[in-house]
């Protein structure tokens, strides 16, 4: 395990003269330099792309949250736990937005034990409710990396081979209390093809470095809260699928949404299968989604039918993932003037971005919007007169 050469640590390299990056203009103001730096960091996200790599679309991700004594520290306001939980709420929403057919589960660890906060589920509401309630937990004791990973493996090892199995650990403590040898657990994780990534809140810990390196995940330590948010958002995008993951045809159902009114003669109220376990859930309702195989009713999609086991989705859920499969090419930057073809704004002293396929010209804000949210080019006329779709 120790054969890989370690990268040089920060204190081993030469001096980094960070003050030379900032340059003043004639009036002594730093505004232009600061704007340039912000602009470059936004552009960096846009130009990074995986290229033609197969991605793991159906993901099963467990998030392990450290609730030990160190999470009470006040370096993130108001304390590390509250800040982390708030960022995780945004993460859960973005995760289900970008990966609608994936599942997420939450685990907390404190007092040398690990506990499941929520089961692996495809519905974001349950997780957000649990995260909001978890703000009141008392942070005591030491975390246990072994126990939390072991608990996550119990559910992940039963997942089918074509899905990606991932664990994301948010670790703030520098210690961990394990009942058994964690190196054995790392070997088990590798054999089960589980990818573990860690976001450290304090400092780099050797066992996490080894863990993430062996399982193929990433390890980062945060600098401040905005860096924390950026690192979390890195995990929203689907990761490249490992070469040994199986590809299979998954049987799925596409139920119709029936809307019935009390004035209809045939309207029959029924219970939703999803609320059978919860005591305070919705009662009888008229419309809903009926499983095409067993006609069990559900109020929301996507869901796995409890009666017959068929995964129920709707076509837009699959369509949400298409932009990962057909990513939009980055536009080429060049200094020129004119009008942005998308927002009709004038471009003065800024660079323009040209789509390499259709030649459309856009300003920097539109370019950022197109690559971040829109994922398709607004103009698609190829100069030779044929019309196609810019991808």
């Amino acid at each position: 395990m120790d054969e890989e050469p370690e990268r040089t640590k920060r204190w081993e390299g030469g001096y980094e003269r960070t003050w030379e990056v900032l340059k003043e203009d004639e009036s002594g103001s730093l505004k232009a330099t600061v704007e340039e730096i912000l602009f470059q960091s936004k552009r960096k996200r846009v130009t990074e792309s995986h290229g033609q790599v197969r991605l793991g679309m159906m993901r099963h991700l467990h998030v392990v949250i450290d609730c030990s004594r160190t999470m009470d520290d006040h370096d993130l306001k108001p304390n590390r736990l509250t800040a982390s939980l708030k960022l995780l709420e945004t993460f859960v929403e973005d995760y289900f937005d970008q990966n609608p057919i994936s599942q997420l589960g939450l685990i907390t660890t404190k007092n040398k034990r690990a506990e499941k906060l929520t089961d692996l589920a495809g519905n974001p509401k349950k997780h957000i409710v649990a995260l909001k309630k978890a703000v009141d937990t008392v942070c005591i004791g030491e975390p246990s990396l072994y126990n939390s990973l072991h608990l996550a493996i119990q559910t992940l090892k039963h997942m089918p081979g074509h899905t990606s199995r991932e664990i994301l650990v948010i670790l703030s403590s520098l210690t961990t209390c394990d009942p058994a040898n964690i190196c054995e657990l790392i070997k088990t994780l590798k054999s089960l093809k589980v990818r573990v990534s860690v976001i450290g809140l304090s400092a780099e810990v050797r066992v996490c470095t080894v863990l993430t390196r062996e399982t193929g995940g990433s390890y980062h330590v945060i600098l401040d809260e905005s860096h924390f948010k950026e690192l979390l958002m890195l995990h929203v995008k689907p990761p490249p699928a490992s070469s040994s993951s199986e590809c299979s045809l998954i049987r799925m159902g596409f139920p119709q949404h029936t809307v019935a009114y009390l004035s209809d003669q045939d309207a029959k109220p029924s219970f939703s299968m999803a609320h059978l376990d919860s005591s305070g859930g919705a009662g009888l309702s008229l419309g809903g989604y009926f499983c095409p195989q067993c006609h069990a009713k559900y109020t929301e999609l996507p869901v796995e039918c409890k009666v017959c086991g068929l995964t129920l989705v709707s076509a837009p859920h699959l369509a949400r993932s298409f932009h990962h499969l057909f990513p939009l090419q980055a536009f080429t930057e060049s200094p020129a003037e004119g009008f942005c073809q998308a927002c009709q704004g004038e471009l003065k002293d800024k660079s323009i971005f040209t789509c390499p396929i259709c030649g459309g010209v856009f300003c920097s804000e539109c370019d950022l919007f197109i690559h971040d949210s829109l994922h398709c080019c607004p103009c698609y006329l190829i100069p030779d007169g044929t019309i196609s779709v810019c991808h």
């Binding site: 299979s248 699959l318 009709q344 856009f362 539109c366 949210s373 829109l374 019309i387």
Partner: protein, 290 residues
């Protein structure tokens, strides 16, 4: 920056497909392109007259490209030097007169200069909607689509991307359909929370526009508006384009098939033949890599 007065933007996307409108003119129906644009101008004027902070934009969606009919290119810099030529003689509020003249001029230019090349006769609506989204980035906006020609199936992916981007930005997409029902626009209205209406009588276009599409989303809860259309969210299989209720989805490229096949036609991956997941394998061996 006045913080109480938020700018409300209405973007009207008009489908000016020359083939469809030409067929309408040949059949000598009551609705011609000029009458449709008259109705659009009535709606635009009414919207701008409702509040000082209302802004209007009109985009024409053609077979190959989309053009902004209003506002012109220098709107952001506030350049109004060209507006002196457009003073109206009937005492109308100057902004409305300017807007009407601009729209009329630009649509004449668009229809006379744009050629229909190639063999594509479909209106490319997805790109126009994308431009409308880029235009309305900083302001609270909503989009009204007036659709004439039929849907183009090739635009499905771009269209869905645009719909999800609009949903994330809380932009409503309303649809006013003149001829045949459009499944794509029904999905757009359902996902973003807008209104879908297929007009029963094309002659009364202005009436429907003013009645249904003029009020903003906050005012709509107090009105009795046409009920939401039933949207068919079943997926179409890639092999036959039939709507299916149970299908097989490739785990790599998410293409949908109605029958099991050993190779995916889209991404050409070979699948392992497995038992359905609800049956635990007892006698047959599954190849499990350990």
């Amino acid at each position: 920056m006045a913080s109480e007065e938020e700018i409300n933007l209405l973007v009207i996307v008009v489908d000016v497909n020359p083939i469809w409108w030409g067929q309408q003119a040949q059949r000598e129906t009551d609705l011609s392109l000029s009458k449709c644009l008259d109705a659009v101008m009535v709606l635009g004027n009414s919207y701008m007259a409702m509040a000082r902070t209302s802004r209007l934009a009109v985009i024409a969606s053609h077979c190959e490209d989309s053009h902004f009919l209003y506002p012109g290119k220098s709107w952001r810099t506030g350049d109004s030097s060209g507006d002196d030529a457009y003073s109206s003689g009937d005492g109308k509020y100057e902004l409305l007169a300017v807007a009407n003249n601009f729209i009329a001029e630009e649509v004449r230019k668009v229809m006379s200069k744009t050629e229909v090349r190639g063999n594509s006769t479909d209106t490319l609506l997805a790109g126009t909607l994308a431009k409308a989204l880029c235009f309305g980035q900083e302001m609270k906006s909503r989009i009204l689509v007036i659709k004439a020609a039929e849907d183009c199936a090739r635009q499905y992916m771009n269209f869905m991307n645009v719909i999800f981007a609009a949903q994330k930005q809380n932009i409503l997409i309303d649809a006013c359909v003149l001829d045949s029902d459009s499944g794509l626009l029904q999905q757009a209205c359902d996902i973003t929370g807008g209104l879908y209406l297929k007009i029963p009588q094309k002659v009364a276009l202005a009436q429907y526009l003013l009645w249904v599409f003029l009020p903003d989303s906050e005012q709509r809860s107090q009105l009795v508006l046409p009920p939401p259309a039933h949207v068919d969210y079943r997926a179409a299989c890639f092999c036959h384009r039939n709507l299916i209720e149970i299908g097989y989805v490739c785990s790599v490229c998410l293409s949908i098939f109605c029958n099991f096949s050993p190779i995916c036609t889209t991404c050409e991956t070979a699948f392992k033949i497995q038992l359905p997941q609800m049956v635990k394998p007892k006698k047959k061996k599954l190849k499990q890599p350990t």
